[in-house]
């Protein structure tokens, strides 16, 4: 059953779009469009990304300009989202934090997809002990307590890495590696399940009969056809990674204190909840909106790419 997934949105789908008949990409777009919330969410997410990328140009206020005469002020014309306890502009800090949070989310998703696809593919194509061993490893990682380990690892390795690189980039690499390293398991399981069914399909058998090497069978025939659910899982992973990064920062163990990620903003704002709720609310709303939009997009993509799975 699993192998009968219709064509997926892959790179080759895009290149085939030039062909005269209804291309898989256009077909996918038609189905995606029916999911109104997903389309709206895509727009919201696009606006968020544009704001985060171009915002500092449109709102050229320094993120670390301290002004003690304007501490903890509510929203006003000069500070659209108000100021924090040092008189720094909250909007500028939310925009800057968005760059970090979104890029951590995307990069961690890449890591989890790469590791998950690799492990799932190796397990799915090789039978016997390799498969069993890799799946045992996957199950082991699934039952690891992820947040405690994330906390422990970032705390323990942060200082060592800081000596090797700058404070911000070292934490970025560490967080991406660790968050990605703890979220590849569902991807690996999906890819393995796809491989197990796809490799018995007739078209793969035909390729095998024509003398295609295992590598060619995988790269040319099996992998492209198993990417649909993987893309869906990847979308969800972006949201999960953003939450994981924010959680770490919120617990005071993520990026260094002067880097305003969304979680860090909430961490700083929580002590002023009674007198300056706008501060915590703007950072929290940014996280919430982004995660919600990504989850809706994932749901829409699931309808398009993976119609059998319902959860």
């Amino acid at each position: 059953m699993a192998g009968s997934t219709p064509a997926s949105l892959t790179a080759e789908a895009a290149s085939r779009a030039a062909a005269p008949q209804v291309s898989p990409a256009r077909d996918a777009w038609r189905r995606f469009r029916r999911h109104r919330l997903a389309v709206a969410s895509s727009i919201v997410l696009l606006v968020m990304i544009l704001a985060v990328l171009l915002g500092p140009l449109l709102w050229p206020v320094a993120i670390n300009e301290i002004d003690f005469t304007a501490r903890l002020e509510g929203p006003s014309a000069s500070h659209l989202l108000g100021t924090d306890d040092l008189g720094q502009d909250v909007l500028a800090r939310v925009l800057y934090g968005g760059r970090i949070s979104l890029s951590v989310g995307l990069a961690a998703m890449m890591v989890s997809l790469l590791v998950g696809t690799l492990i799932g593919a190796v397990a799915g194509i090789s039978r016997g002990s390799v498969d069993a061993g890799l799946m045992w490893l996957t199950d082991l990682f699934l039952s690891l307590p992820q947040l405690p380990l994330l906390l422990v690892i970032t705390y323990l390795f942060r200082d060592r890495l800081k000596q090797l690189m700058g404070a911000e980039s070292s934490v970025f690499i560490l967080l991406v590696a660790v968050i990605g390293g703890f979220s590849w398991m569902p991807v690996a399981r999906l890819v393995r399940a796809q491989f197990l069914s796809l490799r018995e399909k007739e078209f793969v058998e035909a390729a095998r009969a024509l003398g295609a090497s295992t590598l060619r069978q995988v790269m040319r025939h099996i992998l492209p056809n198993s990417l649909g659910p993987v893309i869906v899982a990847g979308t969800i992973n972006v949201a999960a990674a953003i939450i994981a990064e924010s959680t770490l920062s919120f617990l005071g163990l993520g990026f260094p204190p002067d880097t305003p990620t969304w979680g860090r903003l909430l961490f700083d704002a929580k002590d002023y909840l009674d007198i300056a709720p706008h501060w915590a609310l703007s950072a929290g709303a940014a996280i919430f909106l982004t995660v919600l939009a990504i989850n809706f997009i994932g749901d829409g993509l699931r309808d398009v790419l993976d119609p059998r799975r319902i959860m």
Partner: protein, 319 residues
């Protein structure tokens, strides 16, 4: 059932060993040194530091240290907190009840939200109720626990001043008053965790029920004249719960993650806040033990899920 349970227990042992190896390797590779502070203290001569290191076996090869640690753990000797100057197991036993209470109650709450809403939405798919429930479910699990926690504090503690936002373990009240105060301070942590879990479980329940409700035996049950309520509860829900149990078991690590955050926000004196405190204080034995307790809890809940499986689907137990 007994043999099935035994087999499950035996399968849990290698997982626990594997987890302990992963944990130990992470800690052993890490650059932090519990005696690092002594090195910069001029009052402590280097010989004393070396003697301390030797006494705690810090210079042994890593494999030997792991075996030592594992044997000690099995003997119930969980080490000594460098910071609090108490035995680690005493510290954990003191903190564990609060965590288990908050997690347990919030899971019950999540179940009470997810089961009725999920089943009702699935029996009327694409109705107005279903769409509202789905949207709320999405909102619920897109709201990170730390933000919901702050929102609840903002609304119920600061604006309305109904509930206390700091969890106190030294309540002075007695009798009924004590239970009331305990209940009042536990509402928000439980609600935060319960709503988050309830939202994602609602989707699982809904999709699982949708899968089952179109099967032939459900039609049969209806055809033989059973009341709709009985069909849903006896024939649909019980079978739909099987995949739900799997997903819930898979979510266990995330639940404990949420519990750590909630404990930190509301200052619940559980093992989550103990973990964060000990990480900040570089208190290695406590970090190690708490992380291991979290792993044991995850495995324990997976075992419970297996037992539930056996009960929901007797075929699994006899395979």
């Amino acid at each position: 059932m007994g043999r099935y349970l035994l087999r499950r227990l035996l399968i849990a042992i290698p997982s626990l060993l594997g987890i302990s190896i992963v944990l130990f390797t992470v800690l052993a590779l890490a650059p932090g040194d519990p005696f690092g502070e002594l090195a910069s203290n001029p009052a402590v001569p280097p010989e004393v530091r070396m003697a301390l290191r030797a006494k705690f076996g810090m210079d042994d090869p890593i494999f030997l240290r792991y075996v030592h640690w594992l044997v000690a753990m099995l003997h119930g000797d969980w080490g000594f907190s460098f910071v609090s100057r108490v035995d680690v197991d005493a510290l954990i036993w003191q903190r564990l009840p609060a965590t288990l209470f908050v997690i347990g109650t919030s899971q019950v709450l999540a179940l009470m939200i997810a089961l009725p809403i999920g089943v009702y939405a699935a029996t009327r798919p694409y109705s107005v109720f279903d769409q509202i429930a789905s949207t709320f479910a999405f909102i619920g699990f897109s709201l990170p626990t730390f933000f919901t926690g702050l929102l609840l504090i903002l609304i119920f503690s600061i604006d309305l001043d109904w509930l206390p936002f700091v969890f106190r373990s030294d309540l002075s009240a007695t009798g009924w008053r004590w239970y009331w105060e305990e209940f009042r301070q536990a509402i928000m942590p439980i609600a935060v965790l319960g709503m988050f879990q309830g939202a994602s479980w609602t989707r699982y329940v809904r999709s699982a029920v949708l899968d089952v409700i179109r099967l032939d035996y459900v039609t049969t049950a209806r055809a033989k004249g059973l009341r709709e309520g009985k069909v849903v509860i006896r024939h649909v829900v019980r079978n739909a719960l099987i995949p739900v149990v799997t997903l819930v078991a898979l979510q266990m690590p995330a639940i404990f993650g949420g519990a750590i955050v909630t404990e930190q926000i509301f200052r619940v004196p559980g093992i989550g806040s103990l973990l964060i405190g000990s990480i900040l204080a570089n208190d290695t034995p406590v970090i190690m033990a708490v992380t291991f307790v979290f792993s044991c809890l995850v495995i324990l809940f997976n075992l419970i899920a297996d037992v539930l499986y056996g009960w929901l689907d007797p075929r699994i137990a006899y395979r």
